[in-house]
Symmetry: C2
Subunit: 190 residues, 2 copies
């Protein structure tokens, strides 16, 4: 199992945004949508062994489970629609928006507690971390990234015990980091 | 200089598509838009030393030049709008849509001729190629990718003389390949 946890610091936590404006009124939900597709989509299908947690404003978490996921397309807008459906479900007291996309009121602390209870190794992606190509990795592993903003001081405190991994000399957007993590693990497991 | 050439087999070649439907009526222009942002966007800015050629239906080419590019945002829709502006310029007999985004009536053959005349090393991304981590690379280099469809027999003929590079054991969408190429070159030049 490969898990990606992405913190969305400005993202909408209610479904009241137009799909035409993911970067604006949805609070940079575009980058989170691209993280989801980068995590799941291969040329010929879906990586069923992946889970993605989008932690929205440290208050609401939308979880995508590859094993059960349906209706995921590679574009931003349709993925934004899955997030919107999940937030609509939360409003209506349901826990699932569409198959494989669930939602709960929890922030980063709750997500990390759950992963640690499951024995998942957690790594923080950080330009000052150790080079991912030089370290041992085993699955299940979780990789924690931030959207276009840095982790908050509270998030940094929660993440302080985890190993930091660097992907290379150029600092990239979260959605461009995910294919690099996958590639490193794909090569080792090939 | 790093160059990415992406062939869009079903992409619109006129500006008559709504930005709300890049995957549908624009003929999978969503994947081409994500290729552009993957090629240019880093966390803190634009890779000025990059050029992208989108070869649409082997008839029209939209070129993005990092050195002159303005108004590029990381989301699909606004990048789709830059392509739409370029196609509108073509219709009106102009060669540039917005700064750094030019358009001309040429297919893959013309683009390759231009690159070869400039002494650019051309590589085709191909799951059966040699591992990119094992080969010498120098810049200027051009990396040629296809959208969601395979290269056509005519394209394969044009590309038959170039070295084939593989990025890893899992076959990915073009936009997820681009960060892997960048990362390999970034690491070597660091």
């Amino acid at each position: 199992m490969r898990i990606f946890v992405v913190t969305g610091h400005t993202a909408a936590i209610t479904p009241d945004f137009p799909l035409d404006d993911l970067p604006g009124s949805a609070g940079r939900l575009d980058i989170l949508a691209r993280c989801v597709t980068a995590a799941f989509c291969t040329s010929h299908g879906i990586r069923r062994y992946v889970e993605v947690y989008l932690v929205l404003r440290d208050q609401v978490t939308v979880r995508f489970e590859g094993a059960r996921l349906k209706r995921l397309n590679p574009d931003e807008r349709s993925t934004g629609a899955l997030i919107k459906h999940a937030l609509q479900a939360l409003r209506e007291g349901r826990s699932e928006g569409t198959p494989g996309v669930s939602v709960f009121q929890d922030g980063l602390e709750g997500v990390l507690s759950k992963l640690q209870a499951q024995g998942v190794d957690c790594y923080v992606l950080d330009e000052n971390g150790r080079d991912i190509r030089t370290i041992d990795l085993r699955e299940p592993a979780a990789f924690i990234l931030s959207d276009h903003l840095n982790f908050t001081p509270h998030e940094e405190e929660l993440l302080s015990g985890f190993e930091r991994l660097s992907l290379g000399p150029v600092v990239l957007h979260a959605d461009h980091c995910i294919p690099l993590v996958h590639n490193e693990l794909d090569r080792r497991l090939a």
